[in-house]
Symmetry: C2
C-alpha cells in the first residue's frame, strides 16, 4: 500500500509556476517580458537536458529565453567576454551559466563575472553574502530556495527545529544552512552542517527533525539514521549501474527511499521532489530580476 | 591552585602583532606604510575606548592611522559621502566604521558602502559571500578570524570535530560557522549554529568538542553544559551590576568561567582571550589590504 507521506514537488512547483505566470503578465504590462539567457559550454549530455527543460518552462510561462552554445574549447577569456556583453544587454534580465563548465574554466571566476543583478542562480559572492547576512535583497540559489519552499508548502514546522544538512557544497549545503538559520519567519532552525569529514554522522542524522541530504552518495541515508516522524528531503541525483535498464544505469537519490519512507513523517520522492522546484525558483528569480532592472518594487507582484 | 588550561589571547595576539610588524616593514620598503582610518559617529563611551585601543596598536606597529569623529546627528547621507571620499583616497587602505552607529543610520547600508577592497572589518556582503564560498581572496571578520587563530595556535584539533557555536550574529556566529565548515586545513568541522530559538541547547553544548559562546547572555554556559575536555571559547562581553565595583558594574563573558574551567580541556579567559585577537586580526587585514592595493602578492609576507 502506498504511504501518504510524500511531498509532491511537481504539484508545489506548479503552484509557484502559476504565481510566476501572473508575475510575467504583470511585467509585460509594465515594462515588457522578462528575458533569460542560458549559456552552455560544450556538449555535456545532462547539461543539454537541463537547459532544454528550463527553456521549455520559460516558453510555457512567457519568459523570453535564448540559448548561447559555445564549443568545449572556448577559453575563459572568451566566456568572460560574452558575459560582459550579456551584463549590459537591457533585454536580458537573468543570466544562467550551466554547470559543469569544462575543466580549463574556473566556475568561481565565471560566476563572479555575472552581474549580481542578473545572477538568477544566486551564485555570485555578493548574493551569497547577502543571503548569509539576512539581507533579502539578493538572489537565493535555486535548489536550496526550492527545498525551503517545499518545507513551507508542506507546512513543516521549521522554527526551533533541529535541521541536519548532509553536504557542504556551495550550490546546496552552505546556502541551505544560511537560509534556515536566519532570525526570520520560516527559519529560526538550529542548523548542523555535516559532510564527508563528520564523525558519527548517523547520530547527527538521528536527532534531525528535518534531514536534508545533498551529499552526493547514492542512497546514503538509511532507515536507522532517521528519527521516526522526521521530514526527509532528498536533493541527490546519482547515476548507478542497473543491468535491467535500457542504458545500463538508473538515477537514485541520496536517500534509501523505500525503507526511509516508512519511518519519515514526510519525504520527497526522487525524481519529482526537489528537481521541479529548482526550475520553479529560477523562473521566479528571473521575474524578480526583471522587476528590479525596471525599477519596479516587488509589491507589484502582490496582487 | 590555578589550572594550566588557559588559552592566552594576549600572548597569541602579540605573536600575530610581531608578524604584522614584519609585514609593515616589508610594505614600507615596497610601497609605503599601510593606512587605516577609523570612523566614529557620536560619543558612545565603549566605542571611544575601542577606537583608542586600536589606534594605539596601529602606532606601535607603524600603521598610519587617523580618526574621523562625526557628531551623533550626522545623517546617513553625510556618512556615505565621507565613505565615498575614503574609498578613493589612495593613502587609505583600510576603513573601519566603529559600531554601533546611531539608530537613524543603517549599519547594513553603511557596511555595504565601504569598498570591499578596504573592508578590513570583513563586513561587506561581497567579503562575507567569499568567506562562505571558500574563496580566500576576501577579508574575514576580525573576531571569528581571531577565534580561529586561537584554536590553531593552541593546537586544538579542528578537523572532524563537533563545533557548537552559540549565537548567530553577523559579526561572530555566522562567519565563525563559515570559517570552520570549509573543506580546508584547520577547518573541516561539523558545525552547529545555536541561538535563542534553539530547543535543548544544553544537549547541543554537551556534545561539542569545541564550544564557542557568542550569544550575549552573561555566564550562559554552565559547567553541566560542557563535555569534559572540551575547548571553550568565550566571545561575550556583558556588563552586569556589581555593588562592590567602583562604577557599580563589572564585565563578564558568556561563560561561567570559574566553574567551566575545571571541566574544560582548554578555555579562554575573559578579558585576555578573544578581545586582543580582534585587534590583531584587524591590523593583519590592513597589511593585506595595503599589499593588494599596491598590486603586491601575499607571498611578500612569507619571508
Amino acid at each position: 500500500m502506498a504511504l501518504d507521506n510524500l511531498i509532491d514537488g511537481r504539484v508545489i512547483a506548479n503552484q509557484i509556476h502559476e504565481e510566476t505566470q501572473r508575475r510575467v503578465i504583470a511585467l509585460k504590462d509594465q515594462c515588457g517580458p522578462p528575458g533569460l539567457v542560458f549559456v552552455r559550454v560544450g556538449e555535456d549530455s545532462a547539461s543539454r537536458v537541463y537547459v532544454g527543460m528550463k527553456e521549455k518552462a520559460c516558453e510555457r510561462l512567457g519568459i523570453q529565453s535564448q540559448i548561447q552554445v559555445l564549443p568545449e574549447e572556448t577559453t575563459e577569456k572568451e566566456l568572460l567576454g560574452l558575459i560582459g556583453e550579456l551584463n549590459i544587454d537591457p533585454a536580458i534580465h537573468g543570466i544562467l551559466i550551466q554547470a559543469p563548465l569544462p575543466k580549463h574554466i574556473s566556475e568561481a571566476t565565471i560566476f563572479s563575472a555575472v552581474s549580481p543583478n542578473k545572477d538568477v542562480d544566486g551564485f555570485h559572492p555578493l548574493n551569497v553574502g547577502k543571503l548569509l547576512l539576512g539581507d533579502t535583497d539578493g538572489f537565493i540559489p535555486c535548489t536550496p530556495a526550492g527545498v525551503h519552499e517545499l518545507l513551507i508548502h508542506s507546512r513543516t514546522p521549521i522554527d526551533g527545529t533541529d535541521v541536519v544538512i548532509l553536504g557542504r557544497g556551495n550550490i546546496v549545503g552552505k546556502p541551505m544552512a544560511a537560509i534556515l538559520c536566519q532570525k526570520s519567519e520560516y527559519a529560526n532552525a538550529t542548523v548542523s552542517l555535516c559532510h564527508s569529514r563528520t564523525e558519527n554522522i548517523d547520530e547527527h542524522c538521528q536527532r534531525a527533525d528535518i534531514l536534508i541530504a545533498a551529499i552526493g552518495v547514492p542512497q546514503f541515508v538509511k532507515e536507522d539514521m532517521v528519527k521516526p516522524g522526521a521530514v526527509v528531503i532528498d536533493v541527490g541525483v546519482n547515476r548507478i549501474p542497473d543491468s535491467t535498464a535500457k542504458n545500463g544505469s538508473q538515477l537514485v537519490g541520496d536517500v534509501d527511499f523505500d525503507a526511509v519512507q516508512k519511518k519519515a513523517g514526510l519525504i520527497t520522492p526522487n525524481p519529482g521532489g526537489v528537481g521541479p522546484m529548482t526550475i520553479a525558483m529560477l523562473l521566479r528569480n528571473t521575474t524578480q530580476a526583471c522587476a528590479k532592472a525596471n525599477g519596479l518594487k516587488p509589491d507589484i507582484f502582490n496582487t
